[in-house]
């Protein structure tokens, strides 16, 4: 390693003087040097690794994907048992990561927006409380917050048999939260379908309304109609399929609550920690975004006679969103990446399952590569979305 350094630096010195006047050649030399160095470093590490693996006769490759995992996973979105393969176990992990990231992002955006608006409130008390919240949450490491919430779940909440019941059908215990949910019925499937249909219909309605407005100048009451379609269609479906209303109420059977929807303390603590932490950052972004739209814009909009709703919709939001969306996406990505800390509090996310896999198979290189690749994919997807969005926004911008 030392040798390669020496030779490269002397190489620089020799070539520098005669070729000083030709930036093209110099640039090529630099590039070759850089690539050479990277390749050399890569080769050095790679060859060491291969020798080490060979010497220790450590198994390599992804053959373990097909092997039986033979460990259980605490919670899973798809049916999984110890008899399934490592591949499936890892997929369960990915799904769990996606689940926590998705729910986390939705809640974070809601809470963050709310806090951001509260921060700008004219009410001194509310604004100051929001400021304190934002400052405190931003300055405490997320991992510490996760530990705190996890210990809160199992140290403070009572055991299952003495579970708190703050509302009918909701139980809080050190095994997590148990909710009553509507009992399975085909009607719900149809409702989901009609919801999607409603969304598509609204999309086309919007297009049509915009065209009509451009042509005739008439304004269609879009917001109310959209709400009516999106909410009304499923409601009508529900009524037509016999309005099922039986609830699946959790009951204490044996050790745990059965039925209803269960949120484990691990998932609850992870979600709570991630949402409370990230929302503080989102609040700052929202505040900055709203403040970025100068007051003159609102006044100008008022001057040309727009109604308050229209001002928000047509003037402020499009401008504020342009400022908000890019940093917001990066916060979403941060949340997804931070969800990997689940491994510290025992939620079976992808990192957690992968690290169990590493341990059982002893194939650390493959395991860690997998972790990196999976998160890279998340990042790439996000940045594709970002680029697409930026382009779309740029078009709007004339």
């Amino acid at each position: 390693m030392r040798n390669s350094n020496n030779s490269s630096s002397t190489g620089n010195a020799e070539q520098k003087i005669p070729l000083l006047n030709d930036p093209k050649i110099r640039s090529i030399v630099y590039q070759i040097l850089t690539i050479g160095m990277v390749v050399l470093l890569g080769y050095y590490l790679f060859s060491n690794t291969v020798t080490n693996l060979k010497r220790q006769s450590i198994a390599t490759g992804f053959g373990f994907f097909e092997k039986e995992a033979s460990f259980e996973i605490g919670e899973s979105l798809i049916p999984y048992s110890a008899a399934d393969t490592y591949g499936k176990a890892l997929f369960v992990g990915i799904l769990n990561t996606v689940k926590v990231a998705f729910i986390g992002i939705v809640l974070t955006v809601i809470l963050g927006t709310f806090l951001g608006i509260a921060r700008l409130s004219k009410n001194w008390l509310v604004s100051k409380l929001a400021a304190v919240y934002i400052e405190v949450m931003q300055d405490i490491p997320i991992l510490l917050q996760l530990f705190f919430w996890y210990s809160f779940f199992y140290d403070i909440l009572p055991p299952t048999r003495e579970a708190l019941e703050p509302m009918k059908g909701v139980f809080m215990s050190n095994r997590g939260l148990a909710f009553a949910i509507p009992e399975a019925h085909p009607a719900y499937k149809y409702m989901a379908i009609s919801f999607i249909v409603g969304c598509i219909a609204v999309y086309f309605l919007r297009k049509w309304a915009k065209k009509r407005q451009e042509k005739t100048g008439q304004i269609f009451p879009l917001f109310l109609c959209s709400i009516a379609i999106i909410l009304g269609l499923p409601l009508v479906t529900w009524l037509f399929s016999g309005a099922p209303h039986r609830m699946n109420v959790p009951e204490l059977v044996g050790f745990n609550f059965q039925g209803g929807l269960n949120i484990s303390p691990e998932f609850g603590a992870l979600l709570l920690g991630l949402v409370l932490y990230t929302a503080a950052f989102v609040a700052e972004i929202v505040r900055a975004g709203i403040q970025a739209v100068s007051k003159g814009q609102t006044e100008a909009a008022m001057a040309i006679g727009l109604k308050p709703g229209q001002i928000l919709n047509l003037v402020i939001l499009p401008q504020a969103l342009r400022v908000i969306i890019p940093p917001l996406t990066s916060q979403m990505l941060n949340l997804t990446k931070n969800s990997s800390l689940a491994v510290a509090i025992g939620f079976p996310d992808f990192v957690s399952v992968a690290s169990t896999t590493i341990n059982q198979t002893g194939q650390a290189i493959e395991g860690i590569t997998m972790i990196m690749v999976v998160y890279l994919c998340f990042s790439l997807l996000t940045s594709f979305f970002m680029n697409w969005y930026n382009k779309k926004m740029a078009l709007v911008e004339r």
């Binding site: 450590i58 033979s70 509090i345 059982q360």
Partner: protein, 338 residues
């Protein structure tokens, strides 16, 4: 730019860590002047720092015995606390010379992981720890239970197998650190905890109220816990192996750290050979002739180590059971030292 990085890496490597290029572990250990041992980050009775930061435990004493064998000095050892995930790769990669971290010997680990296990220093089996108030008497009653288990261990696999063969359901809670897992269990996050019976005793010992918990009589697996070394380094494996065996042999011969100096005068050829009065053993291993004497003198025989760390007078209160000498009904047995 990469030059800078390379320099940085090289600089760090050369400036801070002692570099020891050596093929064989034994030579590199001698060159370093200490043995690097991977231990548990906090398992009462096996490997845990006490309130002054001094490491204590059965595995820790085994590690000390190895250091004594090589250097004649029990303090020439460096403990590296490792989590379950880190333990094997740390050994594979040469970060540690020997792993004394209650690791179970299995076929897969012996082959695919590139490890070699030495003499077992504790024969264990997997059991269940439950709070007494659940009124459970047998493992078969655990259907539907939430179970605390360390991820990446053989116990995690065994318990899944056990529930599958008995057609029962379970919900695992897996937390990587012992300490955190224990806390979750005591707080009632799980109905039961499963692990090696010795570990369960250790968990029970640190419970806020040990009498509230009991270990179920069912033992569902074989767990021979042994120190591990890298595959293919025979001399080093011999040294580790015989360091453990020396403690067992000493108990067999009735040699303790207290009576060892009188034993030096013994005319029993077995004892003379063992203590190096008749030379030969040390040379064969590449150690000094009094290596076994030093181990017993500084660390003690197996019985002493056992009683000091996990025996009846410790909070763990473990019986010798399988770990008694072969002549006392156990399976601890040492080949002759000749």
């Amino acid at each position: 730019m990469k030059l800078f990085k390379l320099c940085l890496v090289v600089g760090i490597v050369f400036a801070i860590s002692g570099v020891a290029f050596a093929g064989q572990t034994f030579d590199s250990v001698k060159a370093k002047g200490f043995v690097q041992v991977g231990v548990n980050e906090g398992l009462f009775g096996f490997g845990k720092p006490d309130e002054k930061g001094v490491w204590r435990g059965l595995d820790v004493d085994t590690a000390r015995a190895i250091a004594v064998a090589v250097f004649g000095d029990a303090s020439k050892v460096k403990f590296i606390p490792l989590t379950a995930v880190q333990r094997f790769t740390a050994l594979q990669a040469g970060e540690i010379d020997v792993l004394c971290r209650n690791a179970t010997q299995t076929l897969g680990r012996d082959t695919e992981l590139g490890l070699d296990f030495a003499q077992v220093n504790y024969y264990d089996g997997q059991g269940f720890l439950v709070p007494k108030k659940l009124k459970i008497k047998r493992a078969k009653e655990l259907d539907g239970a939430t179970i605390c288990v360390l991820p990446g261990t053989t116990t995690e696999l065994n318990v899944a197998d056990y529930f599958r063969t008995n057609n029962m359901k379970m919900k695992p809670v897996v937390i990587e650190s012992n300490v955190e897992l224990n806390k979750a269990f005591f707080a009632g996050r799980c109905d039961c905890m499963t692990s090696d019976a010795s570990q369960l005793a250790s968990v029970r010992a640190v419970a806020p109220n040990p009498d509230d918990y009991m270990i179920l009589p069912d033992i569902i697996s074989k767990e021979p816990l042994a120190p591990a070394v890298r595959h293919g380094d025979n001399q080093w494996k011999d040294i580790v192996n015989y360091s453990v065996l020396a403690m067992i042999e000493a108990e067999d011969l009735g040699i303790t750290s207290k009576n060892i100096d009188e034993m030096l005068k013994s005319k029993n050829p077995l004892i003379m050979r063992f203590l190096g009065v008749t030379s030969g053993n040390g040379k064969a291993l590449g150690l000094s002739e009094n290596w076994a004497y030093n181990i017993i003198k500084q660390v003690g025989n197996y019985a002493e180590v056992f009683e000091r760390n996990v025996g009846k007078n410790t909070p763990l209160k473990l019986e010798r059971g399988l770990n008694a000498l072969w002549k006392d009904g156990g399976i601890m047995y040492s080949p002759p030292f000749k």
